[in-house]
């Protein structure tokens, strides 16, 4: 598992495109949208927008890691690496864990960088740092778990891009990352509660402002962890089919 992790990590570190998607683009969007939505506002209103946008765009952009995960698995499948590894004593579980963990590390770093940027540039509050750290870990597990499932199911890399766009952007819209849910129609507000973005964003905002109760934290953690676990289970169950489609 460690060997798979190491090679996957090296490949990702060499991928300059990943730096753009992971750090540069989210920072550009955050700066851009904060400047647009805070134009003409001051004090509490401005702070409200910033506290919504910084975690909102963090949550939205971490979903794009699914694209990189998809391409990596498709490459392994089409190049024959999956089949070759299946001929070695490496178990499917170890292979999936080895592929999964580098993306957890990347997403964790991404969350830390984006929130640190928010703290330095916009002085966002971080009133419950322990809960915020736990949420970062749980969100990481949730998104990469989803990514794992999608990566093993998609037939092509482009399909992965398409599904990620729907999940990331659709979820961002319905989950209240772009505009507060209370400003949206009732039906959308109800649907939004089925998205991981909603739970992550709400919990992040509350933890930042120090209003996240333990029970609300547990609910959000449970929802996000469940999605991550379901993702891993789907990946494990669909692995034989993924191997069947592998070259070599």
């Amino acid at each position: 598992m460690k060997a798979v992790f190491k090679v996957e990590m090296i490949k990702n570190l060499q991928d300059k495109g990943l730096y753009f998607w992971t750090f540069i683009l989210p920072i550009i969007f955050t700066v851009l949208f904060i400047s647009i939505f805070t134009a003409g506002t001051e004090g509490a209103d401005k702070e409200y927008v910033i506290i919504s946008i910084v975690p909102g765009y963090t949550v939205m952009f971490v979903f794009f890691i699914i694209i990189s995960m998809g391409f990596s698995f498709i490459e392994d499948r089409n190049k024959g690496m999956v089949a070759r590894l299946a001929s070695t004593p490496l178990s499917p579980y170890a292979y999936l864990m080895g592929k999964w963990t580098p993306y957890m590390v990347i997403v964790m770093i991404q969350i830390i960088v984006l929130l640190t940027f928010g703290k330095i540039v916009y002085n966002i509050p971080i009133d419950q740092p322990v809960l915020l750290s736990l949420l970062a870990i749980i969100l990481t597990l949730c998104i990469t778990g989803m990514g794992l499932a999608i990566s093993l199911l998609i037939p092509t890399g482009n399909m992965g891009v398409a599904i990620t766009q729907v999940v990331a952007l659709g979820g961002a819209l319905l989950g209240g990352l772009w505009m507060p849910l209370e400003h949206m129609p009732t039906l959308f507000q109800k649907i939004g509660k089925f998205t991981p973005q909603f739970w992550a964003h709400k919990a992040f905002k509350d933890a930042m402002t120090g209003t996240l109760s333990h029970s609300n934290f547990l609910v959000a953690a449970l929802v996000l962890l469940s999605i991550g676990c379901v993702g891993f289970i789907i990946a494990l169950v669909t692995y034989p089919n993924f191997l069947k489609r592998a070259k070599n």
Partner: protein, 300 residues
């Protein structure tokens, strides 16, 4: 070493393998010959554990034991390496898959690099390698755990003659080390050079399986080639010795008794004052055996 009984595999309505049975002895080099799509790769993938749903049984001998994946090295048909890391990192990667660690891993990687002739390029990224070098490294990765059984699926496809020869020499060395090799190819001349036992496979069936010498004796008929002005004058007189076909500027006489045929041709040439330009005994080849068995040339 390995026994396969009544193995069948279907992909939908396509019968990839049909009731295949054979045994492979320890230390032998077993050639699996057949055209593309014959079922060779499917058979190999079943043996190495990539395909797990099939009919029939595989029995691994005591030397492979229960944990056979540790003792089988698989060289896939496609070059399958991590291109963005070095040759050494690739060997470490696959060595770790076979649970090699520390000093043992490093020493074995150096040994394999020397074996495949890439010691001087060990720190270079694989993406800078030629096709032949990648093929050698592809084999090297399968040798990290010093496997008892090496499965090679068309390891020489698309490479230059020098690299091909290097790989064939490597295989001869492996044979001398008493390793068991299963070698799949549609390059019949390679199989002829290195394998002891051969199975012809086509349309998912083993058409014939035997020792190379037995196969040649049993199925291939020797022939005599002769050419020269006015040879046609005595063709009718040798027709009863075998089958005559025109070939280039002369004739090929396929016969079970080539010595008698050669003697007769010489006699007739002398009698008719025919000067032979070319006169030779053509040894039967494995390809002829396949031709005899299937009635068709190998599909490349």
């Amino acid at each position: 070493m390995l026994s396969i009984k009544n193995m069948s595999k279907n992909y939908g309505s396509t019968k990839a393998l049909q009731n295949i049975s054979f045994n492979i002895e320890k230390g032998s080099c077993f050639g699996l010959v057949g055209p593309n799509g014959a079922g060779k790769s499917t058979l190999i993938k079943i043996i190495v554990g990539i395909i797990q749903q099939y009919e029939g049984t595989i029995t691994f001998g005591k030397s492979l034991g229960a944990n056979q994946k540790q003792k089988i090295g698989y060289v896939p048909q496609e070059v399958c390496l991590e291109e963005n890391v070095s040759a050494l990192e690739n060997l470490y990667f696959f060595g770790k898959m076979y649970r090699l660690t520390g000093k043992e891993l490093h020493e074995r990687a150096d040994e394999v690099l020397s074996y495949i002739g890439l010691s001087d390029r060990k720190k270079d990224k694989v993406k800078t390698f030629s096709g032949g070098m990648k093929r050698r490294l592809n084999i090297g990765c399968a040798l990290m755990k010093e496997p008892e059984l090496i499965m090679m699926d068309e390891p020489t496809v698309g490479i230059d003659p020098q690299s091909r020869q290097y790989i064939l020499n490597m295989m001869n060395e492996m044979k001398q080390e008493n390793r068991t090799i299963i070698y799949s190819s549609h390059y019949i001349e390679e199989v002829e050079k290195i394998c002891d036992d051969i199975a012809f496979i086509d349309h998912g069936k083993i058409i014939e399986h035997n020792n190379m010498d037995v196969l040649l004796k049993k199925h291939a008929i020797p022939s005599v080639y002769f050419s020269g002005d006015r040879c046609s004058k005595y063709i009718q007189e040798i027709e009863h010795l075998g089958t005559i076909t025109e070939h280039k500027k002369g004739y090929i006489l396929t016969t079970r008794n080539p010595m008698q045929a050669m003697e007769k041709i010489l006699q007739l040439s002398k009698k008719n004052s025919v000067v032979l330009d070319q006169f030779e005994l053509l040894q039967p080849k494995l390809e002829d055996v396949f031709f005899t068995l299937t009635g068709s040339e190998l599909r490349a």
